[in-house]
C-alpha cells in the first residue's frame, strides 16, 4: 500500500516569496503577493522571457527576504510549463546554483518541495535547498492553445493559467513551518482527452492520493486544518468530492483549491478557475505559509495537481494522465 514517508529531519521554510501578474493582483489574494507587474512583461520584450524574469524575480525576493546569499544555496529544483522548462533555465541560470529541472505540469510545486525535502534528508548542517516554480498565462496560451489575440469562446470547464511564481528556501531551523511527510503521486489515466477540462482529468489522481493518505491509520482528516489541492478548479473539485464520496471519504469541510482562491470567478472571466505551476506555488507562498507562520493554521496537506499532456498528445487522443504528489506542512 502507498504510504507517506515521514521525514527524519523535517526541513523548515527558511524563506519564501511570491510574484504575480495583473489578473492575479486583481484577485482576492492580490495584496498578499510580494511583487506584481501590471504589464505581465516583468521588464521583458516577450512572454517567454517574461516568465524567466518572473522566476528570477521571485527567487531574488526569497533570498533577499531570508537574508541569504545564492552561494549558500546548495541545490535548486525548478520547473515551469514552457517546452523544455526554458523559463526556469533562462531565468535562473545566473544565480549559479546547481540546478535540477523538473516537469510535473501544474504539480511541479509540490514535486519540487518533495524533492528538496528528500535532498535535505541526506544533508547535514545548514544546507539550503531552493524550490521555484512559475507559469505565465501568455506563454502557456501560445504553446498549448491559440494565439493570444485570437477571438473565441471557452468552455465553462476551461481554466486560466496563472501568471505567477513561488520560491521556497528550505533548510534547518529551530522552530517554524516544516514539511514533515511526503508522498509522490501515481499517474492516473483519467480517460479524458479534452484539454479544456483538466480539472476533471486531474481529479482521479487527487482522489487516489487523498484515498491513499487517509487509508493509512496514522492519518485522520480531523487532524488537518486544510486539505489544499493545486488547481482542480470548480469542475475538478466537484469530481474530487464525488469520487471520494464513493470511497466514503468526505473532505469538503477542509478542502480548499488554490485554483479557486487566486481569482474572483464572479468578477474575473476565468471560467473554472486558475491553473499552472505558479498557481499553487504563489498561493502557498502568499496565503498558506504566512497563516502557518502566524499559527492560524497548524497542519495542512498540500497537494498540487498536474495534467500530464502535450498539444500533440491531446490531438492524438492520448488520454490526459493526472498526477498529485502530496506534502504535509506543519508549524511547530
Amino acid at each position: 500500500m502507498r504510504k507517506t514517508k515521514i521525514l527524519k529531519n523535517p526541513p523548515a521554510f527558511i524563506s519564501y516569496a511570491s510574484a504575480a501578474g495583473y489578473e492575479e493582483h486583481r484577485g482576492p489574494l492580490g495584496c498578499k503577493f510580494d511583487f506584481h507587474d501590471e504589464t505581465d512583461l516583468f521588464g521583458s520584450d516577450s512572454w517567454e522571457k517574461a516568465e524567466g524574469e518572473l522566476a528570477h524575480t521571485v527567487l531574488s525576493l526569497a533570498l533577499k527576504k531570508g537574508g541569504i546569499s545564492e552561494q549558500d544555496v546548495e541545490v535548486l529544483f525548478a520547473g515551469d510549463l514552457q517546452n523544455q522548462c526554458v523559463a526556469s533555465s533562462s531565468g535562473l541560470y545566473n544565480f549559479g546554483i546547481p540546478y535540477l529541472g523538473l516537469y510535473g505540469a501544474c504539480s511541479t510545486c509540490t514535486e519540487a518541495l518533495l524533492l528538496s525535502s528528500l535532498y535535505l534528508e541526506t544533508s547535514e548542517g545548514d544546507t539550503i535547498a531552493a524550490a521555484v516554480t512559475s507559469s505565465h498565462y501568455c506563454a502557456a496560451e501560445r504553446q498549448f492553445r491559440t494565439p493570444l489575440e485570437y477571438g473565441g469562446q471557452r468552455t465553462p470547464t476551461a481554466q486560466w493559467t496563472a501568471t505567477a511564481a513561488g520560491a521556497f528556501l528550505l533548510g534547518r531551523k529551530e522552530s517554524g513551518v516544516r514539511i514533515t511527510e511526503i508522498m509522490p503521486g501515481k499517474m492516473i489515466d483519467s480517460g479524458i482527452c479534452d484539454a479544456s477540462n483538466m480539472g476533471a482529468a486531474m481529479a482521479p489522481a487527487a482522489a487516489d492520493s487523498v484515498f491513499a493518505l487517509f487509508s493509512d491509520e496514522k492519518h485522520d482528516i480531523s487532524s488537518f486544518d486544510r486539505i489544499v489541492t493545486g488547481d482542480l478548479g470548480d469542475t475538478g473539485s466537484f469530481f474530487l468530492h464525488e469520487l471520494l464520496s464513493k470511497d466514503g471519504i468526505d473532505i469538503r469541510d477542509k478542502h480548499e483549491d488554490c485554483g479557486l482562491l487566486l481569482y474572483d470567478r464572479n468578477a474575473q472571466d476565468v471560467h473554472s478557475g486558475a491553473s499552472g505551476c505558479g498557481c499553487s506555488a504563489s498561493v502557498l507562498a502568499a496565503h498558506y505559509l504566512p497563516m502557518l507562520e502566524k499559527r492560524e493554521l497548524k497542519k495542512i496537506l498540500f497537494m498540487s495537481t498536474g495534467a500530464l499532456m502535450s498539444p500533440s498528445s491531446v490531438q492524438q487522443r492520448i488520454p490526459i494522465f493526472g498526477i498529485c504528489p502530496a506534502v504535509v506542512i506543519e508549524s511547530d
Binding site: 489575440e149 473565441g152 480517460g191 479524458i192 482521479p204 469530481f239
Partner: protein, 149 residues
C-alpha cells in the same frame, strides 16, 4: 471505482456545458449587426462604385477593421462575448490570420511569422480550396454528361 472509460463518459455527461442558447442569441445579434454594418457600407459605397466593386469594398473594409481591432487587442474581447457572431463573418477569418501573425513575430519574420501565420486559418484555406476544386470537377462531369445525353 470507475474505469477510466466510465469516468470519462461520466465527466462528459456531468461537466458544465457552454450556454448554447445564450451564446446563439448573442452570436445572432452581434453577427447580424456586423452584416447590417456591411449592408450600410454597401449603400454608401454604391455612391462611388458599381455594385460589384461596392461588394468588394465592403469585404475589404470589414477585414481591415477586424485586423486593426485584433492589433489593438479589442477583437478578442468582443469575440469572447459574441462567439460565432464575430467568427462566421469575414471578420473571424481576418482575426484568425492576424492573431498568429502578431503572436509569432518575436520568433522572426521568416521562421516565426512566415510558417505560423496560417496555423488557425490553414485548415479553412486548404479545405475550401479543395472543396472548390472538387465542386468544379463534379460540375464539369455533369456538363459533359449533359452534352453526351
Amino acid at each position: 471505482m470507475y474505469s477510466s472509460k466510465e469516468y470519462a463518459e461520466h465527466v462528459k455527461k456531468t461537466s458544465p456545458r457552454s450556454p448554447v442558447l445564450k451564446n446563439s442569441v448573442k452570436a445572432f445579434f452581434v453577427g447580424g449587426a456586423i452584416c447590417a454594418l456591411g449592408q450600410a457600407l454597401f449603400f454608401i459605397y454604391l455612391n462611388f462604385a458599381d455594385e460589384k466593386e461596392a461588394q468588394l469594398f465592403v469585404t475589404v473594409t470589414l477585414i481591415a477593421a477586424a485586423a486593426f481591432l485584433t492589433g489593438l487587442g479589442i477583437f478578442n474581447k468582443i469575440a469572447r462575448f459574441a462567439g460565432a457572431g464575430t467568427l462566421v463573418p469575414v471578420t473571424g477569418f481576418a482575426n484568425s490570420v492576424v492573431s498568429p501573425a502578431i503572436d509569432n513575430k518575436k520568433e522572426g519574420f521568416i521562421l516565426g511569422l512566415g510558417p505560423k501565420i496560417f496555423t488557425v486559418a490553414g485548415p479553412v484555406i486548404l479545405y475550401s480550396v479543395l472543396s472548390g476544386a472538387l465542386y468544379g470537377i463534379i460540375l464539369y462531369a455533369v456538363e459533359v454528361f449533359k452534352k453526351l445525353s
